[in-house]
């Protein structure tokens, strides 16, 4: 015989089991709904690619020791530093091509980073300009050592490479007035034994007067 107390306990346990089953079922439904909601917010489209823009490259020619302006259409990021790296990458891709008149192996991967900093004001000595948003800028171009190691040695070819980088930066980022070079993050005396990489280059010296932005 089952006592009355045991009967009540059995009924309570059965009710508790039903309630717990209901709660678990409800939690499962909610988890399923959350999962479905998470799938809806997942990216279902490819990242938007920047619209192609026109970029002006100052392309060197070893035959007549000149820089020529060429316009290319390529996607350019909005960030100025990434933009500078993109145009320099395209410039070095042109030099790495087979039919280049200024052949240098390496291509776009030869530019590690390009940093844009406010240019120092002569009136303030070495202090950076306070007009960081509108004043002239210094571009610090960090090249990879593999590029420097494979660069042909020669006064003309090294000078043209340096000037074409300076001119290309100025043509696409007119606020860049000075350019400094690093190789793997460190200063280096020369590019391949000739062109001085320790000095600060003025972009105005690299761009022919008729091509300089007014």
């Amino acid at each position: 015989m089952i006592s009355r107390a045991q009967t009540i306990l059995l009924i309570l346990l059965a009710l508790a089991s039903l309630i717990m089953g209901g709660v678990l079922f409800r939690m499962r439904e909610r988890a399923h709904q959350r999962m479905l909601a998470g799938q809806d917010s997942a990216p279902t489209q490819a990242p938007a690619v920047a619209a192609p823009e026109q970029a002006t490259l100052m392309v060197a020619d070893d035959d007549d020791n000149s820089l020529r302006s060429r316009v290319y259409s390529l996607p350019l990021p909005g960030d100025p530093g990434a933009r500078a790296r993109a145009v320099l990458g395209k410039l070095l891709d042109v030099y790495a091509a087979k039919d280049s008149n200024h052949p240098i192996p390496g291509g776009a991967a030869s530019v590690a980073q390009v940093f844009l900093l406010p240019a120092s004001s002569p009136a303030l000595g070495s202090k950076p300009s306070t007009q960081a948003d509108s004043g002239p800028e210094v571009a610090v171009v960090n090249l990879k050592s593999s590029f420097v190691a494979s660069h042909p040695s020669g006064l003309e070819t090294e000078t043209l490479t340096v000037l074409s980088i300076c001119g290309t930066l100025h043509a696409n980022l007119p606020r860049v007035s000075e350019v400094r070079f690093l190789v793997d993050g460190a200063a280096r005396p020369s590019l391949a034994g000739h062109a001085d990489l320790t000095r600060t280059y003025l972009t105005s010296d690299a761009v022919p007067a008729e091509l300089s932005p007014r």
Partner: protein, 244 residues
């Protein structure tokens, strides 16, 4: 005693007056007799010293570029330096070379040699495999008025105008000799520290109209032609320097 001393004083005073009169007369006579002496001619000034510094780039551990025929730039520049030194020496021009053998020299040492020589022309010789003909460079520093004390790294700034003049003379001589010349400005550490008219001459392969190489930078005949043109340019520069 008092009388005798007064008489003596009178005698001495009279003798002094006579001597003074005689000396004045004698001086007037001598002035009238001697014609006015012409001003002494200035001592002959020696002609200004004309020194040329020839800098054969690279050397020692610094081999420079590699030429297509397997030669090194340091050897080609030294050979051209020796040729040019001989040609200038034969014309009576004093030459100072930065190196006569395969030895290492940093750019500062080269500039020191040139600046100590107080040269009227400094020629830095290079060789390369890219381009064609002769590449002629002057410093890309902005010209300034020469000062007594100048920063070491930009000492050439006070001489850039004259360096461009020297580059023009060298360009004319090389073009006259039938060599293709390209002109440019560059930042070269050795040149930028020199306080003299300075140009960098880079010898590239000689190519024909089809861009085929007809002579490498270390070709003896090619070097001899370029050296002769450079020597002619230096002589011309010397002649211009002597003209008032």
């Amino acid at each position: 005693m008092r009388w005798s001393s007064g008489r003596t004083r009178g005698t001495i005073a009279g003798a002094a007056a006579v001597l003074f009169a005689v000396s004045v007369l004698a001086s007037q006579v001598s002035i009238q007799q001697a014609p006015p002496a012409p001003p002494a001619p200035p001592p002959p000034t020696p002609p200004p010293r004309f020194v040329v510094v020839i800098d054969a780039a690279h050397g020692g551990d610094d081999t420079g570029g590699h030429l297509n025929d397997g030669q090194l730039e340091k050897a080609a520049t030294l050979a051209l330096s020796v040729r040019l030194r001989s040609l200038l020496g034969a014309r009576g021009i004093q030459v100072v070379t930065t190196r006569e053998a395969d030895q290492s020299l940093d750019p500062d040492r080269r500039a020191e040699i040139a600046n100590r020589a107080r040269a009227q022309a400094c020629i830095s010789l290079h060789a390369a495999e890219t381009g064609s003909g002769v590449h002629l460079f002057a410093s890309s520093l902005t010209p300034v008025i020469p000062a007594r004390f100048t920063p070491w790294k930009t000492a050439q700034a006070g001489w850039v105008t004259r360096s461009l003049g020297l580059a023009g003379v060298v360009n004319s001589a090389l073009t006259h000799a039938g060599t293709t010349v390209t002109l440019g400005r560059t930042a070269l550490p050795g040149i930028d520290s020199m306080s003299c008219p300075a140009v960098a001459v880079e010898l590239a392969p000689e190519r024909n109209a089809d861009k085929k190489t007809t002579a490498e930078p270390d070709d003896a005949n090619y070097q001899a032609r370029v050296a002769a043109a450079l020597a002619a340019a230096i002589v011309e520069w010397h002649t211009e320097a002597r003209q008032p």
